[in-house]
Symmetry: C2
Subunit: 452 residues, 2 copies
């Protein structure tokens, strides 16, 4: 990286290699914007496959879909990597109501959290609302026992990066049921983790600790959350909940992988998104967009007859949503095989406008990437800050601590309107924004390949 | 500006004023994101008023709406500025069909261009397709006379900034009818100026030169344009067109103005968008967003008890779309009154994600604004390039050539999907993106007020 970095820093008079880079990146963008496949590939993934939670028939079809598509592009190698993944199903029943002391009834838009147990028929209890796990624990078992705990923790709209708002709320979804069970609550319902006030409930992962009784966990829409809080301000509210979801243990699935071989060495640059999604909507932004970004980046580089120095490996990870067994096993297998991984890039923040890359590495590695900011500004990429990469590639860093990791930074304003909800469908993705994402990823892969 | 600029440049140890700026800008953003009125104001403008072309009853209601809203915020002064504006109406008939030699009939989604004359009943002619005015003129009068000229000039998807694609196509809409009339064409139909391939036609301004016969001008959807081109590739195509639009000359209307008075001098910083829109859709992005951005910026500064050095003047310009009589007269009246204008800011690029500001001024003025880029990065504003401001404030520059002008830079990827079409409605605007725009505008007004 240092050679090009130096060239950029010493100014315009000698930046021949920067000019070459700029021209090649222009070709990447031209191909993506004028002839790109990403939008049509996403349509197919969303409509021909659909929502594809790990263990479902759709997830199995998505593996076939991914392999066939990668095969069709004539890459050097396409293969499946077998992994074990959890299998959970929502079941056929999912309904909830609240009733106040006057007997008013309101039906809630409810969704089971991923991994929840069944309610074993219609479960009923008085609702107690808290803002946080800490507030619940301060109330203690006496106040919580036998109740249905409602975690009402709205997004902080003042946080400009919505992932930060999500980050401050995610504990109630991931840990809330577990923590409430320890206080002998009957069940947990949470306010959906969403930026917007609407009627769509949002699911997502939760966990049960060993030795803790598994009680049901669900989310209700933000509109219903406001209604419930209003009712609670006026008196006692009972909640009735029925869900027949079930865990089926583990089964076989696959990461889907394609490569362009390096002409200099066997060092590997991994990039990808996750092929699985939640079981509602179509997983369009989360993470169909990342899947088609990644496939398209490799297609464009191959189409432009680019001969990489290092092996460029596109990975469609399975099971990011509930366990990350795709990412964890990919990293473990890489180390067992003695592979040399120097860089990884992830795109799992939606198909919206790309704005740059977050960089995870040493200060020197961060600065080396930031040296390309002037080159990438003309492609409307502005943000190159030290930051996090992504869930799928994170485990690689455990085995290869010296590697550089990059997370594609994407405008986050709309993401959590759709995240894990029935609204995350193909129609919510904009073609030009999606294709800009594919081009940005291809450009950064090219820069990493050239500079490392 | 130089004092703060200097402070920023000499580094962190002495940038107390930059810290003060950052804290105040944080307050602006907190107010906009947590308690902002912009989204609700836009809902009201779109739903309680609606599309508001100059001269319409809706435009008159929009003036009342704007004045009442500004009055409600308790600014130092709110007033109307009388201007003359053109009055054109679409009429009640608007339909078009194509028919090929086999007798196949296809109805087109058609819309009259703004200012077009009527067809005086059902007009019919053979279609001749060209890509540009130059191509039409090269064919000459012999090939054009008596025909309906179809300008099929698609957006270049490779241009990352969609305003550039628009810029390369706008001549066929603005000049095409005029140029075709000189060659004795019967009428002009254009491919809608849009980034997307869909079924919605897009209107917009056109002109007739004095002494040139006025022939009808219309736009058809991009999908219909592709169908028409396909039919033309297989043989002769006739087009039938009926429109009964009409020009009604000029009438009185108003710019709507609110001020916070400066505590240091009478120098003026103008900012605004345009209150009029085309007569289809609801003018949500064009330019309802700019209107509520501007009102909200002044509301926030007032709410935070900000005491400006210079007079901050929010202007809701009338008649940007077809003549810019609001902007032209505002500038003329300013000069006649002997006002001193030092800066103007415009927001007329939609309610999407703000990314920075384009700066129109001397190199020194551009650099002085760019010195604030580090301050504004933490508010996700990245782009501070020399560039164009906006149609409404541009005439001020003729009278005050030393002033600095700023155009709010907004992600352009989705803008021309909605521009001048029935799809430009409130529902196409995202609350957080809209409120970020209002905050960005308020922040830059504050910076300009402090630094000039």
């Amino acid at each position: 990286m240092k050679k090009i970095l130096f060239t950029l820093l010493i100014g315009a008079s000698v930046n021949a290699s920067a000019n070459t880079d700029s021209l090649f990146i222009r070709k990447i963008y031209d191909e993506a914007m004028a002839n790109g496949d990403a939008y049509e590939n996403l349509r197919s993934l969303c409509k021909d496959i659909g929502a594809r939670i790990t263990g479902s028939a759709e997830a199995k079809m998505a593996v076939i879909w991914g392999k066939q598509l990668l095969d069709s592009y004539g890459f050097d190698e396409v293969y499946l990597q077998e992994i074990d993944v959890p299998h959970w199903e929502r079941g056929t029943k999912e309904a909830a109501w609240i009733m106040n002391e006057k007997g008013d009834i309101h039906k809630l838009n409810v969704i089971a959290l991923g991994g929840s147990v069944s309610t074993n028929g219609l479960l009923e209890g008085e609702v107690i609302a808290v803002n946080s796990i800490e507030e619940m624990e301060a109330l203690g078992e006496e106040k919580i026992k036998g109740k249905i705990v409602f975690f009402n923790k709205p997004f902080d709209q003042k946080l400009l990066q919505t992932f930060h708002a999500y980050g401050t709320c995610i504990d109630v979804r991931h840990e809330g049921t577990n923590a409430a069970s320890k206080l002998n609550a009957k069940a947990v319902v949470i306010r959906s983790l969403s930026s917007s006030t609407d009627t769509h409930p949002h699911t997502g992962s939760m966990k049960y600790d060993p030795g803790v009784d598994s009680i049901a966990g669900a989310a209700i829409s933000t509109v219903d959350s406001d209604i419930l809080m209003d009712w609670l301000s006026k008196g006692k509210v009972n909640l009735k909940l029925e869900m027949d979801c079930k865990n089926y243990g583990f089964e076989k699935s696959h990461n889907v992988i394609a490569e362009l071989k390096g002409n200099k060495d066997n060092k590997i640059i991994t990039f990808g998104g996750h092929l699985d999604s939640w079981d509602v909507g179509e997983g369009a932004h989360d993470d169909g967009a990342g899947i088609v970004h990644s496939i398209e980046a490799l297609r464009i580089l191959n189409h432009l007859n680019y001969e990489p120095k290092h092996t460029l490996r596109c990975v469609l990870f399975m099971n990011e949503e509930n366990g990350n067994f795709g990412g964890k096993n990919y990293a473990r297998i890489a180390k067992e095989k003695g592979e040399e991984h120097i860089c990884a890039l992830e795109t799992d923040r939606g198909g919206f406008l790309p704005i740059g890359f977050d960089i995870w590495g040493t200060d020197e590695q961060v600065k080396a990437v930031q040296a390309y900011a002037p080159l990438l500004r003309s492609f409307q990429l502005y943000k190159f800050d030290a930051g996090y990469s992504g869930v799928d590639i994170r485990p690689l860093k455990d085995y290869y601590p010296d590697m550089i990791q990059l997370g594609m930074a994407i405008s986050s304003q709309r993401y959590f309107d759709f995240h894990h909800a029935e609204t995350d469908v193909f129609e919510s993705v904009h073609k030009r924004e999606l294709h800009l994402g594919a081009a940005a990823l291809a450009a950064m892969i090219y820069i990493m390949d050239q500079s490392l």
